[in-house]
């Protein structure tokens, strides 16, 4: 019986691929083990994906890549400076007022919680042994203590980010292609086109998702701020900003975003009149997001079944908490791209080969 001849280059290519994968795994490990490096890098990659289309628009107008990147950076610097100046001015007033009233809010909140706890314990004696208010006080004290102890470190990391992120983003925008080419140079010929296709599709899926989520967060933040401002509620800018930021977390993000506003208007008797308008504004923003923004901007790009999205978010939450929920959908999108490519490589190509032989 004739034994099939083994491809002579196969062993070498597998060895090469193993080397590339090992180098990739090592880089990833280094990335996860050094948060001081990984956080700015991750932020820079996200910013690069967001800014890349702007650079492309300028390149289309005849600018070189370096000049286009410089123009985009200068524009960003101007926009950031103006926004920060405006936000600081408006936010400072809100912050000063909040600082003055913070003690009253805290005391009122504790008093309200104790009253609710007492009334519940009277109605349901079975829960008399638990004291959620004390647990809440203990948690808020320990969280406050953590900020006091780690505040300097957090500020230090933030300053590193402020300096590193623009620098890394500039290099990624300018030399990203060179870095990518150097990586592909290491991939064996046999796997080159598959690697190229998968990496291209992953990049497109991730950058589309990221851009869509940022636009979604901006719109939700804007709707909430405008809604609360129209209702005449205080801290509209801060609450709107918080609602926009937390909206990037799938499913529970809108709930987390609504908590500070609703809690504030519920706890302070002087602000009770804003409670229902605030609930209506948060609900309206969430409905617009679910019915209009998400289906038009995000869902079309991710193109995953809602059940898969839900499962991905649940798994992400189970293993990595909030961060897991945040990255679950892009990771699911990556899995989908890889699975579709593997399926196409195995079944479509085999079908074609069978029809020709």
């Amino acid at each position: 019986m004739k034994t099939p001849r083994l491809d002579p280059g196969l062993r070498r290519d597998i060895f090469k691929l193993a080397f590339v994968l090992l180098a990739g795994a090592g880089t990833l490990a280094l990335f996860f083990l050094t948060p001081a490096l990984s956080t700015p890098t991750l932020l820079s990659v996200m910013l690069t994906m967001f800014l890349s289309p702007l650079v492309a628009v300028l390149e289309r107008r005849g600018y070189t890549r370096s000049i286009a990147t410089l123009v985009v950076f200068s524009g960003m610097a101007v926009v950031c400076t103006l926004t920060i100046a405006f936000a600081l001015k408006a936010g400072n007033l809100e912050w000063d007022s909040f600082q003055v009233k913070a003690d009253t809010y805290y005391a009122n909140a504790i008093e309200r919680c104790r009253m609710m706890e007492e009334s519940l314990k009277q109605k349901f004696p079975a829960i008399s042994s638990v004291s959620p208010t004390d647990s809440l006080i203990a948690w808020s004290r320990s969280t406050g203590q953590w900020f006091v102890n780690n505040g300097t470190g957090v500020m230090g990391d933030l300053m590193v980010c402020v300096f590193l992120v623009p620098l890394l983003t500039y290099f990624l925008l300018n030399d990203g292609r060179k870095i990518r080419r150097s990586f592909f140079q290491l991939v064996p010929n046999r796997f080159f086109e598959s690697f190229f296709l998968i990496s291209h599709q992953i990049t497109v899926a991730l950058s589309d998702y990221l851009r869509a989520k940022l636009i979604e967060a901006f719109l939700v933040g804007l709707i909430t701020t405008v809604g609360l401002a129209i209702a005449g509620a205080p801290y509209a800018l801060m609450l709107g900003f918080f609602a926009g930021v937390t909206n990037v977390i799938p499913y529970i993000g809108p709930v987390i975003g609504a908590v500070p506003g609703i809690a504030l208007f519920f706890m302070d008797p002087q602000l009770n009149e804003f409670l229902w308008p605030a609930v209506a504004v948060y609900a309206f923003a969430n409905i617009i997001d679910t019915v209009v923004i998400f289906p038009i901007i995000v869902a079309k790009l991710v193109n995953l079944h809602p059940l898969i999205l839900l499962a991905a978010v649940a798994v992400g939450q189970r293993y990595y908490g909030l961060i897991g929920m945040l990255i679950s959908i892009p990771v699911a999108a990556i899995f989908k791209v890889v699975a579709m490519e593997v399926y196409a490589a195995i079944y479509t190509e085999r079908k074609v080969r069978r029809s020709t032989s």
């Binding site: 280059g9 390149e59 140079q185 010929n189 086109e193 190229f196 296709l197 080969r353 032989s357």
Partner: protein, 180 residues
């Protein structure tokens, strides 16, 4: 001492021919001959230089294809598989190019097998990069697409002529058979 043709590290850390070398290869190709020097330099950032050993397949018939290759150095054979065996289509040398159908084909499936017959250096240009060039430098992208259309049109014309000749020969043979 003779060098081992499959030496692992040589391929992995080999020094490429550099930007200038790639530009020279691209300049001599019909697809890119209408590009200016500046455009060629821009294009050189979008292409990938690959080295193949003798008998190493570049792609196989039925593989999902992404783009075309220009032969910078070496020799490759193009063949098709059929139920009656493999058919050698052609042998291509330095300066030639192949696989250009994948740049425009939606199905992305290779219609033939390409194998290096000696140590060969190829310059690969792929569909996502062509799309990116069209987005970033539309005028340059149109120049490439126009040349690509000319090549595909010429190949279509040649194929039509060949089919016409074969059909005519078959008809003549049928007439002779009927007469005898």
């Amino acid at each position: 001492m003779q060098k081992h043709p499959h030496f692992f590290w040589e391929d992995l850390f080999k020094i490429g021919r550099g930007e200038t070398g790639v530009i020279e290869v691209l300049k001599q190709n019909v697809l890119f001959k209408t590009l200016t020097r500046r455009e060629l330099r821009y294009l050189s950032h979008f292409v990938y230089e690959r080295t193949y050993q003798p008998d190493e397949a570049i792609f196989k018939q039925g593989d999902r294809g992404l783009g075309m290759y220009v032969i910078a150095r070496g020799l490759i054979t193009i063949s098709t598989e059929s139920p009656h065996g493999d058919n050698l289509v052609t042998t291509l040398g330095a300066g030639s190019f192949f696989g250009e159908v994948a740049l425009v084909d939606q199905e992305n499936l290779r219609t033939a097998t390409a194998v290096a017959t000696e140590r060969t250096v190829l310059v690969g240009f792929f569909k996502p990069d062509l799309t990116e060039i069209l987005q970033r430098k539309p005028a340059m992208g149109v120049k490439i697409l126009y040349q690509l259309s000319s090549v595909l049109a010429r190949r279509l014309l040649e194929t039509t002529e060949k089919i016409t000749l074969i059909t005519r020969a078959r008809k003549m043979a049928q007439i002779h058979e009927d007469a005898s």
